[in-house]
């Protein structure tokens, strides 16, 4: 039963008879891993090419399927200390990559054009004070046009298409004034070149595109990096399921990745295993821990005909389950419906830069129009001169610094998030996280660790605890599984034997070690502590009782105290019973807590806070939290969260600690401050430059200097955002 895992779902077969497989590798710590892994793979028969990507921690294998089974790859990697998981590139990731490549190409073209045109422009500018023959000047302008027009047509694509989309939806974004500015600058310059004028703005138009593209490339590079890391995490989390397969008339259970499951498959879920997909029980009885979905920590008994849901954990009995249509349980449908309702408010949120462009674009266009007409009607300029001045106003105000103001900060912030163990799902989330004044926590899996742990670990000798973990590895009992996981136990003892329902025993240092019930370990039975399950261990003369229960995240109390110190309003909303929530709230010192909350109650609570003018951050992991996450102003969820819930969160955090929540709030607050500074600066810059342009003094040289000066200043300001800042760094160290 359950031999080697079946990777066929992930293998792609080429026409020339070779197969390809991508693996996400866990455990790469340094560059020395690269030759290790590649040589180990090269030694296997039939491997044609093994190439490790040190940036994305992925291994691409090309091999001959006749000579080698894919399962041998993971085996060989495990032998040298790396865990490998088959990996399927998701469409979003491929899209991000394609977009990055397009932006980089556009940037290359724009920079090429800027440099060559600047070469000509500087000659023209310096020639004006000396004696540049008009024919040469015209020739230079002509060559500039020849470079600028095709280059702008190519490099401007990202802006043109985005502006077009916005206009079709009757919105205005930053790309609209950019597109209008660039197009008009080019058109005016072509006209001026034809009429042998002194000035042409080819350099301004192309340089503008270069600066803007540089900002977008930075932004996209960061986004791609987080997406890759998130993709790896998904692969690393990717679990296997035992599926019944009929081969040569005989039924067998084969280990297949969860991604390969389809409705109608029959699965075996062993004791203590996570249920891999929604389904109906066709054989067996057990109790299922549904805390990931409802927040309720007491296992729910299930039997023939009952539904079980993906993400829940099976208790003591083995279950045979028929997969129902994947991702279509009543529970998930209900959650999705609530999310849709709750999410409507969220989609109304307008990004800072959109809010600015909403008034900026019309204001700029109006200013240019008024300037042109004033010169023409009141100051007696010719229609041509008036038009030139009007367009120069547009060029000067083309929101170069404004368009860089937010993306540069976003790129820096998502880098800082990344280093603090956070993945940003949505760039808008960053701005919203910066506005938070109240935080609502879920209890199970958010304030507490997703798995139960040893509550009295400090009272037990370390060697006994390690032994307990190793013994627990040999058992399928849910308590033992939780114990082994939480202790990060070492290898199981070689001769360990399990007595079902009682415990595990093995020979140890000449004597015998036992782990299990009080009777099994011949220990004195003690009444169980509040909400805890007991498991006993005996090694020779030493006896101890391990109390297993949900434990708080190790730094929960500290982080909660820090958040309270930062002036945030804290609440706990849990689907668990009030008796289970109370002690946790008391321990953390959170006065406002509620237990037994249904998803709808959670939404109502969050919306009520919102209606009272609070900006609520919801932190939760369960399916029951998903609608509340969607309803809240901003949301976070731990990486262990249910898939649907993670999708609703603005950012996802890694690890056992709660520290990333504090880091996220600190970084977002700093980022928001820097965005505001940058936007203010960009507007002040315009307030100074626009009058100059309106007065008709905006020469191409002035435009070039002003534009690059402001862009560089805004970028440098954004670079100040390196991390969450001192107060959180102190927490991280202690």
């Amino acid at each position: 039963m359950g031999a080697a895992p079946d990777f066929s779902h992930f293998v792609r077969n080429d026409e020339d008879g070779r197969s390809r497989l991508d693996l996400a590798i866990d455990g790469i710590t340094c560059a020395a891993c690269l030759p290790d892994i590649e040589t180990a793979m090269g030694r296997l028969p039939g491997v044609k090419l093994a190439r490790l990507n040190l940036t994305s921690h992925r291994l691409a294998l090309t091999y001959d399927p006749q000579q080698v089974e894919p399962a041998r790859f993971t085996g060989a990697l495990e032998a040298i200390g790396y865990r490998a998981y088959p990996f399927e590139q998701r469409q979003v990731e491929a899209d991000e990559q394609a977009r990055f490549n397009l932006l980089l190409k556009c940037l290359g073209v724009a920079v090429f054009a800027s440099m060559n045109i600047m070469l000509l422009s500087i000659s023209v500018w310096s020639g004006q004070s000396t004696s540049l023959p008009p024919e040469t000047r015209d020739f230079f302008h002509f060559v500039s046009a020849l470079i600028a027009l095709p280059a702008a047509a190519y490099a401007g694509q990202p802006f043109f298409s985005s502006a077009w989309t916005a206009i079709r939806q009757r919105r205005l974004n930053m790309d609209v004034p950019i597109t209008i500015g660039v197009t008009l600058a080019l058109a005016l310059s072509v006209y001026e070149t034809q009429h042998h004028a002194d000035h042409a703005y080819f350099d301004s138009a192309v340089m503008l595109l270069s600066f803007l593209l540089a900002g977008r490339v930075l932004d996209q590079a960061m986004r791609r990096r987080t997406r890759t890391a998130a993709g790896n995490l998904a692969a690393l989390k990717g679990e296997n399921a035992l599926r019944r397969e009929t081969k040569d008339g005989a039924d067998d259970w084969a280990l297949v990745p969860v991604a390969a499951l389809a409705a109608g498959d029959r699965l075996l879920v062993r004791a203590g295993e996570r249920v891999p997909a929604d389904g109906v029980i066709v054989e067996g009885t057990s109790a299922v821990d549904e805390s990931a979905i409802t927040g309720e920590t007491d296992p729910k008994p299930v039997r023939l005909g009952d539904h079980v849901y993906a993400g829940t954990v099976n208790g003591e009995g083995a279950l045979t389950v028929d997969v129902t249509a994947a991702g279509h349980s009543a529970l998930i449908d209900e959650a999705a419906r609530l999310i849709e309702q709750a999410g409507a408010a969220r989609s109304r949120y307008m990004q800072l830069s959109d809010r600015v462009s909403q008034f900026y674009a019309p204001a700029v266009h109006l200013t240019a129009l008024i300037t042109g007409f004033s010169w023409w009607l009141f100051f007696g300029a010719t229609a041509h001169d008036a038009l030139v001045i009007a367009i120069s106003v547009l060029i000067i105000t083309c929101p170069c610094a404004l368009a860089l103001a937010v993306p540069t900060v976003q790129a820096m912030a998502s880098g800082a998030f990344f280093r603090s163990g956070l993945f940003l799902n949505d760039a808008r989330g960053l701005e919203k996280l910066g506005e938070i004044d109240s935080v609502v926590f879920d209890k199970t899996g958010t304030l507490t660790l997703p798995q139960s742990g040893v509550a009295n670990a400090d009272d037990i000798p370390a060697d006994l605890l390690a032994l307990a973990g190793r013994l627990a590895r040999s058992s399928h009992h849910p308590l033992a599984l939780a114990l082994a996981r939480s202790l990060r136990a070492g290898a199981p003892l070689p001769d360990a034997r399990e007595t079902p329902g009682q415990g595990v025993c093995a020979s140890y240092e000449g004597g015998e070690a036992r782990l299990g019930s009080a009777a099994f370990c011949d220990a004195e039975f003690l009444p169980p502590e509040n909400e805890a399950s007991s498991i006993y261990i005996r090694a020779g003369e030493k006896v101890a009782r391990l109390s297993i229960r949900q434990t708080l995240r190790p730094d929960a109390a500290k982080i909660i105290a820090h958040l309270r110190g930062a002036g945030l309003d804290l609440h706990i909303l849990s689907g668990d019973r009030a008796e289970a929530v109370g002690p946790v709230a008391a321990k953390l010192g959170i006065a406002d807590w509620r237990g037994g909350q249904k998803p709808a109650d959670k939404i109502a609570f969050v919306e009520d806070l919102g209606a009272r003018g609070k900006r609520v951050l919801m932190v939760g992991d369960g399916l029951n939290d998903a609608p509340a996450l969607a309803a809240a102003h901003a949301s976070l969820s731990p990486i262990d969260a249910v898939h649907l819930t993670q999708g609703q969160a603005d950012a996802v955090f890694l690890g056992e600690r709660l520290l990333p929540v504090a880091a996220a709030l600190a970084i977002a607050k700093k980022a928001r401050g820097l965005m505001t500074q940058n936007l203010t600066f960009a507007i002040v810059y315009n307030a100074i430059a626009v009058p100059v342009a309106m007065a008709g003094h905006a020469s191409p040289l002035f435009a070039a200097a002003a534009m690059s000066g402001s862009s560089i200043l805004v970028t440098l300001n954004a670079l100040r955002l390196r991390g969450p800042g001192k107060s959180v760094n102190v927490l991280a160290k202690s």
Binding site: A31, L34, E38, L54, S56, L104, V109, F112, M115, P133
Partner: protein, 50 residues
């Protein structure tokens, strides 16, 4: 000034050459693994094969 007729096309041609280089390297996925490439140069795997 006649030299310009020769120098300007030359400048543009050099720029285009660099641009072609960028497009070529993107097409060949040269930017896929910037960290790994830095270490690959130190590996002696090509010597072993001899």
């Amino acid at each position: 000034m006649n030299v310009l007729v020769f120098l300007i096309p030359l400048a543009i041609a050099l720029g285009l050459l660099a641009l072609y280089g960028l497009f070529w390297s993107l097409k060949r996925n040269q930017y896929e693994d910037l960290e790994g490439a830095a270490y690959r140069i130190l590996l002696d795997d090509d010597i072993e094969k001899k």
